[in-house]
Symmetry: D2
């Protein structure tokens, strides 16, 4: 029922600021696609513009995906890994850079059409600020509204989903949390603009993931896309889903079902020192396990617990799932 | 220029869960009002419904305030300190309690009219949840929209300002952060519904206070009221303003001026072990100090720094204020 | 095998700073003892000095416990709920208060002897500071060393276990985290001085609970006592164990076994709005569930996983427990 | 009086996991040394082994430093930026890697002798763990004790200072906070082993920086070295000192003086998007400003405030410095 996908690059090499050449060896694209297709349950991939897909290799990538039975779930324009975006993409003080950020978005939408990909996931990681008295909060937010609106108007058949994150690579992101990003999405006035929840960004932003999903769904049917990973709440550790949190993910899966979310459940991790395919497979297995827990009478039971609101009973129900068939 | 006020009860006894009888002795109301008036710069007070002001003592309180030249800046209905609110006020699962929560709001609005008080500050602290599978996020948020809308329609001459806080006394509040509370305020569709920023709630919610003020102001002119206190970012310590943070408060004061905020700057502290009047006076003195720093050419200089966005220069400017006239 | 106990007062009324009269009704002591004994698995209770047990009612309490087959596991001297401790107990600047704090400790030890209770759990919650330039960090820490040493010398047959907590009711506690409290315990030079881990204090202090247990055990065999509760990591929410965290508690239970911890597993919660007995029972059931997960071949399997250090395999093993017998 | 230094590489290019080629252009070593010497007040530099200094270029680097009147304050062996350290250096499960980690330390000590550098700063950033059931907490900590002890015995004329950090690049570091790292240092039994406080690591670890300095100084005279930078408390943002925090740095500077710290005050930043020299100069200027605030009668005044412990007075004193000579 649930459609699982992964971000292709998660299968490749990963670096950080201390080990910039990466913890592992590079993996060829064809091999990554092969590995993705081999993860039980995975039917789609997300591609990063310029890293994974360009105008030049677009057809080749499309054929590889077809060959392995994978859909292109989303394209993520690269607004973060080039020097020119270092001081912002949509919010750069330099208008030429802002124009390029929009061009990059348009180019991704064009490729999406070609690849029959329904959604552009916008994560302009360099948009934000680091220091006091450095950002014009009003102006910069408005610039993001305008750029997104322009792209959404140009490509009404494509969904544009805004991915928020509290910080990193800036100390403060422009789109930092679910509700403020929903405000941006609504401000565009476009039906094809919505919000992506990355579970790790939600956790490190101090949100309850399930509540964020409900707010974004319920105040405007704007929950367009989901990225999954886990962390220790203070930072975007991008770990195997379920390696830290269990009950909050169960609650999230319940509410995604409850609000009728019908998008992809996409893995977005950074397996620095782990086998990439194994790390992604583990995440999908975890979510499938939760899916199974919510089958049968479970949805109705949870609804009844919520209606009563007795924490002792709710915790007992969770234990009944956790320790079942002892 | 800036209008300073305090929450009257800050001058009284304060308790916590470990020392429930309080760290200090109770202070009579008349004495608290006298002390408030004696703080240089303070021209108004906020009153908590039932604690400070009731239908019965309303006239007497009004006369005392007049006598000391104090305005009633806001009334805060008591939605938090009675057993009946223990499982929520506007979001209580029991409809009778929800009705009472609205009644309490209406009663406060009625008193506000009598006391020429322009604003009801709503902080329904017990609204929220503690455990997984305990809250119907959708329903409960909608209940708050409906209740606030009903009150705002009944008293169109009164402003209703929604005060958010990430947690405490619940592990999760319904109105948790600025942007989600702005969504609630907008959802009511009422021009006399807005948002209160409590600086301590903003800090402990992971927000940049100045940015929260801009978002709430700029996405709908909804910044109605300000509560000031300080903390160590992880909890609502309700300390003397400026005892922990300096540069972020300077940035906040800049932006409040920049967006044309013209409401009260009200102190809201919990001086558990301190002399209450001294703690409040310290906060007002700190904010007056920042006010002075922003006089003359400062506003223009900061605008220029923001336009350039060079952190080295911005930090140098702050140092020039911090270490001036060595 | 594992010995479970509870803090008796957890079954009574609970208040916070906003609802100081409490969320529930008071429960008579005899009833609390009856309820404690009725929780499957619970064989002991902890008593708070003056709240639960005094020189006057000591014999009566002892008889009640005997009657219900409960051991007195620890006594917690009241260093926190009286006005005189408001500015500190062992670290009060007033020497008379410091002397009283030691007297209270000695009195608790005397009662412990009478009740055949092996351990005094010291949680001097008011010891610490709130503001910058308020605490003499050196002097105050030394005072705690001296007082604990004096008590430990006077009662060599009693264990004194120092319970740390990062904050609350002070913004900073003197004994804030495991390693700094171990330093204090070691500094006393007394073999009968050790450390209590409260799982909620450890989580909100940013520790990995299991690692804290290992450090305290391994750098001096000083892990004397365990308090269990759960929270959302930023504050001491004192919730039902397992209502938030699962895998970290499993790791903690593994390591407690591995280091040979043989003390009590004691529940320490604040069920503000919940049925107290139900909340405590839920915690014990959760820990018993984990205990069962670690039986049979599990310990050896985990040791092998740790020796290999492959996160993909470790996460898979946890899933095998979580989703077993699907 | 105070000796200021910088980490040389702070003047070069900086990258992160999203922009691995860096935000700026590389800067030649000779140019970095020239820039360091040109910062008013800076008299020393720290060098990273293999990045900045190797057996091969050692003499050349020494001459360059001499020419510019700079001391080599410390050498930081590279235990973090090479693939071989990816799963740990001193705590690697592979004994060959552990041996290499010690070799690297010895080699750095050898270079230190040649360069008349008194201190090796050990920051084995890859030591730690990411996932549950991945680390043998006991064994790995002991390995670090043994390795440090071996190096300290081999080079008794060199100080070895252990730099702690709560996380990054691992989700949990082996040396995570001040007190646990002090325990490691003491466990070696070597007088030439101590602890480095990096202010950003202390802040993001939830410590009060000043209190950490006092604990490390007072429980064994082990405060050997100081790294300065600033952040927003949740992450090691490595920003200009004073750009976020003011009063806590003032408290830290007071206590460093009070405990007689006589080591270097070294800047350790990551000016991703800023002019490196400007960012470092700003930090030194900030600390010099605090130094000036603590001259004259200030130390005595602060001692008196601490002895009294009245937060209202302490906060007033800070304001008198902040807003002086209005």
């Amino acid at each position: 029922m649930i459609k699982y996908s992964i971000i292709l690059g998660n299968l490749g090499n990963t670096c950080d600021r201390f080990l910039s050449t990466g913890y592992k060896a590079p993996v060829p694209k064809a091999e990554m696609i092969r590995q993705a297709a081999a993860i039980p349950g995975v039917k789609g991939v997300e591609l990063v513009g310029t890293w994974d897909v360009t105008r030049e290799n677009m057809d080749e990538v499309g054929e590889l995906l077809d060959k392995h039975g994978l859909s292109c779930v989303s394209i993520i324009p690269d607004h973060f890994s080039q020097k020119r975006w270092g001081k912002g993409a949509f919010t750069a003080k330099d208008p030429a850079i802002r124009a390029q950020a929009l061009d990059e978005t348009m180019a991704a939408a064009e490729m999406a059409r070609k690849l029959k990909c329904p959604l552009i996931n916008l994560w302009p990681g360099q948009d934000g600020y680091d220091y006091v008295f450095q950002s014009d909060f009003r102006q910069e937010r408005r610039w993001t509204v305008e750029a997104v609106k322009a792209a959404a108007k140009a490509y009404p058949d494509i969904k544009f989903s805004l991915e928020y994150k509290p910080k990193e690579p800036r100390t403060h992101s422009t789109w930092a949390r679910g509700a403020d990003t929903l405000l941006v999405a609504k401000e565009t006035g476009m039906p094809n603009v919505g919000v992506t929840i990355d579970t790790g960004h939600s956790l490190s932003g101090g949100e309850n993931m399930a509540e964020a999903a409900v707010i974004i769904s319920d105040f405007g049917r704007k929950l367009f896309h989901m990225h999954f990973n886990d962390n220790y709440r203070t930072w975007d550790d991008d770990m195997i889903v379920g390696s830290v949190h269990f009950v909050e993910f169960l609650e999230l899966m319940f509410w995604l079902k409850e609000v009728g979310y019908d998008g992809w459940y996409s893995m977005d991790q950074y397996p620095y020192r782990e086998d990439g395919q194994g790390a992604l497979r583990g995440s999908v297995e975890f979510l499938m396990g939760l899916e199974a827990m919510l089958e049968g009478s479970a949805m109705g039971e949870i609804r009844a617990l919520i209606a009563e609101g007795d924490a002792v009973k709710s915790a007992a129900w969770v234990r009944s799932k956790l320790f079942r068939k002892k």
